[in-house]
Amino acid sequence: MNAKAAQIFLAARRENSRWPVDPRVEKAIKIVESKPELASYSAKWQQFDHAVLAALEPVTAPESLQTAIATLQALPPQKGDWKRYAFQPAILGVIFGVLLICGFGVYFWMNRADSFPGLDAAQEMLSVAQNADNSGLEPVDKSAGEMGDWLFLKYGLENFMIPVDFANFKAVGCRLLKQDGHPVALIAAEPGDVLFYVFRAGDFGVTVKTPGQWHVFVQDDWVAALRVDGDNGFMVAKQGDEDAMAAFLAKLPSAQAK
């Protein structure tokens, strides 16, 4: 990290934060502090942040908001109000389900030749599923949403989070793989006998044009969908073809909410 980059990463400093200091920010602070010519720059922005935080100090959630939230949660749905039900995500999902599946089908058909840097590494990960039995998996009994914390406690893997869409899947087994010396968490989950792969995208040079967008590829009788959010790489794999994956992804909460 050079001095210019350190100045930029300094912008992510937040004093008295309840979160641990990010290693990149910590490094930036050390670099800036080691350069006397940047000391006044650092001090200026620290002073500015103090002023902002001081101005924000009196801003606390009013009781009226807490009361309104409680009231909102206590409201029962009105019977017979079809408009209210019609716009519920679940109902919209049913109405547009077929259209979505068709849409995903067309989309993935058009992107069959979809390729991205790091695809080779993703294919290598998937080959583990094709060539191994389940004997190497450590049995777990947790929701997938809890696995991020579990991986941190068990292996010290920070930010190995499962996307919110999969939080309610049930994790039944887990195994830590080492690929090219980098960690990959392999999680077997239900329903659907799916496998989740969680990794740091940067470790494998996985970069995609559109963060958060699924990239689907087929390998023999397996299909995988990969997405990258920040540095978090996530891949879900199952037996089947692109159509099966399109239907699977279309059922996810975020897809149904669209």
Binding site: A12, S17, R18, F48, L65, Q66, Q73, G145, E146
Partner: protein, 148 residues
């Protein structure tokens, strides 16, 4: 998630975030309630508070992006002046800096939440901080913020 389960610290953070985004405390309250109504049953399906919070934050950000801005016409007290100036920053710096100041998520997760890289979020934070400093000076009187 039952939103009433949010800790006071988190609820205050969410309220500060919304105040900075929407420029006024009254608007923040309305926006949070509106976001909760929009999220509806989906929030109940999400188990982890952090994930629910991320869902709410995204919804608030979407609401702010769709909002039609109204210029302020009355002199503002310091906090309102800060919020009004903040509200006029551009995305994604506005949301990123508001999340940082509200202390709702660690730095790396802000990048993840905004679907941009950590390098990009650092640049956005740097740009937003400079833009905010140009609009809001804590040491000077606080005239009404005019629309850009």
């Amino acid at each position: 998630m039952q939103t009433t389960d949010l800790s006071t610290e988190t609820l205050n953070g969410l309220y500060r975030f919304a105040t900075l985004l929407f420029g006024r405390r009254e608007s923040a309250t309305e926006a949070i309630l509106s976001a909760l109504r929009q999220c509806g049953t989906q929030l109940e399906q999400i188990r982890r508070e952090k994930h629910s919070l991320a869902f709410l934050v995204r919804t608030l950000r979407d609401l702010r992006i769709k909002m039609v801005e109204e210029p302020s016409t009355t002199p503002l007290e310091p906090t309102e002046a800060l919020a009004a100036a903040f509200s006029q920053l551009v995305e994604p710096g506005r949301t990123a800096l508001a999340l940082l100041y509200a202390d709702l998520f660690p730095f790396a997760e802000i990048a993840s939440l905004l679907h941009i890289s950590v390098d990009e979020v650092a640049e956005a934070l740097d740009g937003a901080r400079h833009a905010l400093a140009a609009k809001w000076n804590p040491g000077e009187p606080t005239p009404p913020i005019s629309q850009p």
